[in-house]
Structures are given as C-alpha cells and as structure tokens.
Amino acid sequence: MYVQRKNWLSGHITIAVRGQSPERFFDLCARYDISVWDMKKKSETEATGKIKLSDLSKLRVVKRKTIYKIYFQRREGFPFLLRELLLQKPLIIGFLLSIVMIFVLSNIVWRIDVSGLDEEMKRKVTVQLEEYGLEEGAFQWNVDSPATIQKNLLADVPELLWIGVKKNGSAFHLEGVEKTIVEKAEEEKPGHLIAKKEGVITDLFVEKGQPLVKPNDVVYEGDVLVSGYLEQMDEEEEEEEQDSKKPVAAVGEVIAKVWYKSELVVPLTNEYQVLNGVSEQKHYLNAGAFLLPIWNFKNPDYQHYQLDVEETEFYFLKWKLPFSYVRQTIYEAERKIEERTEEEAKNMAIEHGKRQLMREIEHDAEIIEEKVLHEREDNGKVKLTLYYTVLENIAKKQPISQGD
C-alpha cells in the first residue's frame, strides 16, 4: 500500500508483456534496477505488472534487448492526472479567466464612504469625486493618490474645512468637516480692551465700555484702552457698587498709528530655474527594489531637470502585489540668471517688504506712509531698512477675572 501511495505522485504504468514465458522479462527488469510490482500471469504468454513512470526510459533499453512485446495498459498517478487536466482546455481557460477576474476586481473601487457631512455636502463631494474619476466601479489605477484627492477636494469644495481621504483596500473612506459659520457666543465675558501694540491713538469707536484714552494719546502694549467697568468712580464708591454694578464686555475699535521697521536684503543677481515645457515620460515596472523600464528607454539629455514620480499599486484580493507601475515625468528646466540694477533691487525690496507687512497686520489696516530709512550696497546685495506707518485696530480683549 505504501509503495502504491508513494508512486502515485510520480505516476505509474501497468504494462502487459507478451511472448514466451513473459515472467523472464520482469526478471530482466529487476536486474536492470527497474522495480516491478503487482505482477500477475494472465496466461501462458501474457503477464502484467506495474512500473514507475520514471523507469520508462530504462524499460525501453531493456525491451530492445528482448523479443517481448510490451503494451501499456493503464496510466495512474499525478502526472497523468495533471496531463488530463491540462488537456481540458475549458478548465484551463476558466482558471486563467478567474485569476484575471479576481485581479481586475481587486483593482476596482468598491465603496466610497463619506462621513461627517450632511446630505447636501455629501452629494457635492461625491459629484466632485466623480469628476476626478473616483466613483464606485472605477479602476484604482486611474485614481489619484489619497493625498492628491484630499488636496483637490479642499481646493474645489470651498465649503469644506477639512477632509480626510483614506484608502482601505478597495474602499475609500472620506471624513469631512464642514465650515460652519460660528455664531457669536451669546454672552460675552466681561472684559477690557487693551492695547496689543505700541502706538498713537487716532480714533476711538467704542460700542460698550468706558474709554480711558483719547486721540493722540501714546499707549504701550498692555495698556487698558476701554474699561469694562462702565463708570470710573472714586475708589470707595467703586468698591461699594461693585456688587451691584457688574462689568460689561467692552466692545469697540481703537485705531492707532503703529510703526513698523523692517530690514530687507535683496541680492543683485538672482539665479532660478524655470521649466520650459519640454518633458519626457518614462514608464517603469517596479518590482521589489529595482525599476524595470517598460517604455521609453532613452534618457533625455537635459542639463537641468525636475523629476515627477507617480506610482500605481496593484492589488490581488486584499494583498498588495509586490510590483507597481511607476510613471516618471522628466521636465527640462532652464537655469536663468537675472541681473538687477540697484534701482530694481530697491523696488523689489520695497515691494517685498510691503507684502511681508501685509501678512503681519490685520486685513483692514492701512499703510499710510512708508519710508526708506537706510540704504546700503555691499557684496552684491542691497540692504534696506524700511519704516512704515500703519493705521490699525490695536484693541484686544482681556477678560476681567471675577475674583471669586
């Protein structure tokens, strides 16, 4: 039994030997190291036995030396089973087809979940996603990376405050946060308005509270501009009435002249790269550690270039396949050196300084004066010290601690 099992994997054949005293043939086989088993004598001139498939070539050698006739009767074992299966074309085609199907289906987007948003926003996001080519049933290799989608979505749907895009196998999970107009807190905490910067007061618009400064006053950072206590009384009186008179939240604007000083350095020569629009695409198959080029083998001879790499991964069921498709786009870059005159550099510095200042100060602030205090040129650079006078709201809320 063991022998039979063992030989099932390698395969065995039942042979019939015909001729005068056929058992002699098997004896000869045994001498030539061909193992024979289950030998039976059917008649005076015919005997059957089983031999291993791998001994077939040896059998041929033995047979050539004799006059016996050999017939193959039954083929058993794995190699024959395999061959039989391989001959079944529909089976093979079906098998391959199913592999291809699984591969294709594994690379399809099956589900897109959008959470954290109301119905309307969900629709908006879904429509936008469809525009990017991301919808249920789309191929994953046509879809951008989650980070790109996230960036694009934030840019294209202005109502979104934030959106997280996560890819989980064949499903995309989006989690959004909508921008909501924050309603003002119903009850503001009582507080003063204090100065957040040093300056000279030019205007006061006080809605609530007791102003403590008047125009043309010089204030320093932290000074109280508008008090939350409505009436500034004598010390004693104040104390008496503190229980009945509660401080209010001071509201108002205090416009003041504020001065800013900034130093800027602008080089006279400027070197930068620009893409000149010439690009070359290369396609690779990334298997493990190395890139196998599959299209566009030549290397462009750009002197300066910028590389853009895009990678598409493939999935089989939930497993990521160890190879991916990589598309490299090589852009030709041109290095440009720009020479500036001193005048140009100076203008640029002023322009730049203004932009920098704009970022620092509030939106509705107004630059009323700008001055170049100092100008110097050395080492191919222009150094400027600029001075700005800005009208801006310097009021800042400071809550009054109620001291209980």
């Binding site: 001498r31 190291d33 193992s35 030998m39 004598k41 005997a47 036995g49």
Partner: protein, 93 residues
Amino acid sequence: MKKLKEKILSAMTRTFDLPSEVTMQLPRITTIGSIHAYIENHQGLVVFSSNELLLKVHQGHVRIKGEDFVLKTMIEKDILLEGSITAITYEKS
C-alpha cells in the same frame, strides 16, 4: 584474489557466527502463514505463473506451488510473493 576472499569469508562466518545466507549466497525464505513468501537472495526467476514460482538459487532451484500467485514486489534479489502457498520444495541440480 577471489579464492582468498572466499577463504576469509568462510573463516569469518565460522568465527563471528554471521548469518550464512549473507556470506554463502543462500536464499532466505520467510513465509507468513501460507499467504506471503518473501524470498531474499535468489539468483533469478525462471518460471512464474499463477500457481507456480521457480527460482534459481545457489546450487539449485526453489519451487513454490500454490494458487493465485501475484508478485507484489520484485527488485533485483528479493521477491515478495502473495497467494495461497501449498508447497515449497528445494531441488538440487
């Protein structure tokens, strides 16, 4: 050379009490009831049919008679016979 080898072998058989079927090329026949016979160290199959097996051995033949004989395995010097055995006879030649 060969003579010397034979001499040494027979001497060793005597002194070390070695199995004689190994040293003297005699067949060893093991039977299990009357259904199996395991013949080792034979020198060739002469006749085989469903009721008879004749093997050449050292200095003669072994004839096994019975019914429904099947050779379960057959390698160079060993044979496993299956069937119902009725007689084992040694024939000197």
